[in-house]
Amino acid sequence: MAVAATTKTGARLSRAGRRPPTPAWVGTVPFFAYVGVFLLWPTGIVIVDALKNPNGAWTFSNISELGNPLVRGYFIGSFKLALLSSVAGAVFGAILAYAVAAGDPDGTVRRLYIAVSGVLAQFGGVTLAFAFLVLIGPVGLLFHASWYFEFPWGIGLIYAYFQIPLMVLVFLPAIDGLKVQWREASENLGASAWQYWRHVGGPLLMPAFLGATLLLFANALSAFATIQAWENQIAYVVPQQISTALSSEVGLTNVNVADLLALGMVIMVAVVMTGYALLQRRAARWLR
């Protein structure tokens, strides 16, 4: 702090007499201008337009459209898919993370799994849908799953492909935080493996596990590319319906449908991410 103060006075002195010093925050103006135009302004447009009718007049009756059975259907679809893929991804990802953590901390297996997880967690584009189509789709090489085009099972399985690696990345530090001494202590006191997990390991990992599940949930909510490439005919989830609404204003009348759905999504994701942040803070207590 003291050093920073010296710099400030030094800079001021050298310029004194020529012109009044420019405040330091001016240096951040380009950044704020950029995010203002391309992040904050579009978000503002979504929120404002969601509360207006197409003629530009303010109205709050749009909000009640969120209760419209049609609209509610998309949110329920999104919720189902996100729940299925996040719970499945979290459980299987935790098992895999535990298997990885149990090995040599500097070994090849661990490095390989972390690197591969990093790649696959990003691999959520349209290509993922192609890969599963030729594996278990109607022309599949492995087998022809009759449920491949069933919502949410088929797409849920595809989502697991990027949810499990994401879980490994997020959850591995938590498992690494479990100290060997805790296990040894409980064994010395006569605890069985089950008792250790029930009373020590489980409760310690629970906040991190729930937090990671919420993160996966938000991740599934906002995914669009894969499900769009999976099945183009029917819109099951909110992002697909936003896409349809952007290209045609059919269905609801007098409402800026896309904006309204988008606002609903922001609220959903914000709630989930707040929960994630809170749980993460709780989990961090043991991970020092």
Binding site: A131, K179, A218
Partner: protein, 286 residues
């Protein structure tokens, strides 16, 4: 939000260590469990890729082998869609431009905030992480109006870089923040300034070389993100690689070129992120 955490920021530091005093029977059971888990998950992750590889090598008749689909990457053109090669070019150019703009925007701002405007640090962090809560599919709804204005000046798909920088903010920010906190920015810049360096020299020749690994992380994560982006390009009616692949799949669902290009793009991203993982390791040790 493709992924919120990426391997660049995974703590690679050693955990508590291999349990030493473990009983032999428990160790055996644990090892068995690990091998079963690795096999099952390995198959789950590998099989879709293998199926894609097999389809990309399918000959004219079912069950035959051929490399036609891989050759087609350079020449494929479907009616009504721009040639495949042009969209590959656009995507690569977008990756380069986005990386450059991201660096120029973010590095000086973050260094400056650390040196002179500490009170803005929390605000900047909040804004940089905001795109995680505002998914691309939401952002694109509001972007329509802004891109209508941009189209007055240029119709090129390269204009997508404006919003791609925003999408990359959370990942780039966290990578750069990790690098910045590892060096003493104040001392470095004061030393350079007192020796007469300009702020430009401080950034380019003093700060940047000291956080090379973090900058590399940020660049690779940004590039990987741009290579896989579909939502915004598709809804703003631009054609990048992913949109092109999507269009091809809609008109010719079984085109072999679909699988060869997808696989090639994936392998490319894989190489990028492998570089990242090894660069990150070196930094962790040194």
């Amino acid at each position: 939000m493709a992924a919120v955490t990426s391997l660049g920021e995974t703590p690679i530091a050693a955990p508590a260590g291999r349990p030493r005093g473990m009983q032999a029977s428990r160790r055996r059971r644990l090892n068995l469990f690990r091998y079963v888990v690795f096999t099952v998950f390995g198959l789950f992750f590998l099989l879709p890729l293998l199926a894609m590889a097999r389809f990309s090598l399918e000959g004219a008749n079912l069950g035959t082998w051929s490399v036609t689909a891989w050759r087609q990457i350079a020449s494929y053109q479907n009616t009504g869609i721009p040639p495949l090669l042009s969209s590959i070019e656009i995507t690569l150019e977008l990756a380069v431009i986005t990386c450059a703009v991201m660096l120029v925007l973010l590095v000086p701002t973050m260094v400056w905030v650390r040196l002179r405007v500490q009170w803005l640090a929390r605000t900047i962090e909040f804004i940089c992480l905001l795109p995680l809560t505002i998914p691309a599919i939401v952002l694109v709804v509001g972007l329509g109006e802004i891109y209508n204005k941009i189209r007055h000046f240029s119709l090129s798909a390269l204009m997508l870089f404006w919003v791609y920088v925003i999408l990359a903010l959370p990942y780039a920010y966290r990578a750069l923040a990790a690098g910045l906190s590892a060096i003493d920015v104040t001392t470095l810049s004061e030393a350079a300034r007192s020796l007469g360096a300009s702020w430009f020299t401080v950034m380019v020749r003093v700060i940047a070389p000291n956080m090379r690994a973090a900058i590399l992380n940020a660049l690779l994560l940004t590039a990987a993100l741009v290579l896989g982006e579909f939502t915004i390009a598709y809804l703003l009616l631009y054609t990048n690689l992913q949109v092109e692949l999507y269009s091809i799949s809609r008109s010719t669902p079984n085109a072999g070129v679909l699988f060869s290009t997808s696989l090639a793009a994936l392998l490319f991203a894989f190489v990028l992120l492998m570089i990242l993982s090894f660069a990150g390791r070196r930094r962790g040790r040194g």
